[in-house]
Symmetry: C2
Subunit: 189 residues, 2 copies
């Protein structure tokens, strides 16, 4: 099983090392991890090539595993959100993980200050703040849920927090358990 390892990890110092470590963890659980190629020598510096290389990896993948730790604001990295959409349209199982347990509303407050009270809060600019107790914009969280996957949040204790290694491992455990159950269900059908 090939898993596409999406996330803002590609922007971390030593991104390739972090990618390799996540690939090793995937192998521990019996999966093959495909890490985005933004930093690969063959494509680095050429946006169109990076896009096509990552799109090809997504097309090869059986499953999408997304690092949804907030990046430069209260939400998932825009490139990662794009990839959730891409693999959602492809009908593949989607799993998310994050190094923070706060919900979207709390992340907006932490980033931009207080929001109005009530069921349908607005930020200081008057823009509505989704208030469903979800980790992020509903299109992301519901795409994951609808695919049969799940989002796992665990406060990161290990640096770099953005890599969310603890939540990543917990998500691989869940994935293996879900796959095993699906396999058993198929065999006993």
């Amino acid at each position: 099983m090939k898993i596409y390892l999406a996330g803002p990890d590609v922007f971390l110092p030593h991104a390739m090392d972090i990618g390799r470590r996540k690939q090793v963890m995937c192998r521990e659980f019996g999966f093959e991890g495909l890490f985005p190629l933004d930093n690969d020598d063959d494509v680095a510096g050429a946006p169109a090539k990076i896009f096509r290389a990552n799109r090809d990896l997504m097309r090869q993948a059986d499953i999408g595993l997304f690092n949804c730790t907030p990046f430069r604001g209260p939400s998932t990295d825009a490139g990662t959100a794009f990839e959730i959409g891409f693999l959602s349209a492809a009908g593949k199982p989607l799993y998310g993980y994050r190094g923070s347990e706060a919900d979207y509303r709390a992340n907006v407050v932490a980033t931009f200050g207080p929001v109005s009270a009530g069921d349908r809060p607005r930020d200081r600019l008057g823009l509505a703040v989704e208030n469903f107790g979800l980790a992020d914009n509903l299109m992301l969280t519901e795409a994951i849920r609808d695919s049969g996957g799940t989002m796992i949040a665990l406060e990161a204790r290990e640096e770099p927090a953005l890599a969310a290694f603890e939540a990543f491992r917990a998500c691989l455990e869940r994935l293996r358990s879900d796959r095993t159950q699906a396999h058993v269900a198929e065999r006993t059908r």
Copy 2:
């Protein structure tokens, strides 16, 4: 031709009015605009229903038209980024528009302060900042380009700036021109 009108417009005060105005503009150009149903009475408050309703609209659409004006940070709204990915995987033509002409690097500086000098800048947390002179994360801009579409940036002069009406209109003009040329090319082939 049905166009899916993605964007953070759904979070604006009077979102439904803004959606209707964009739909009227679509009709002027000979298109049918499909506006996301986040605020529709039938689904409001139910994230799973909103997700499915918007996904159904995307599946009906022939073209994706995305409001990529930065939202709560230097990037496109995460839900909109998701939808770019969704329609990219579906192989549909994608067009973007934005009410700001600044590139991604400038948006990061405006939001989080100075970045390091050089070809491969990093922000104050040491995270790499894409520095390709693109409007946003390359996965978004290159997906649009690869689809045959384009991204149009025009500084918004009309309120609400987030709706980016001027860039929206310019994008509809481009879309009509591209469609007309494609139609002529097909007829004279």
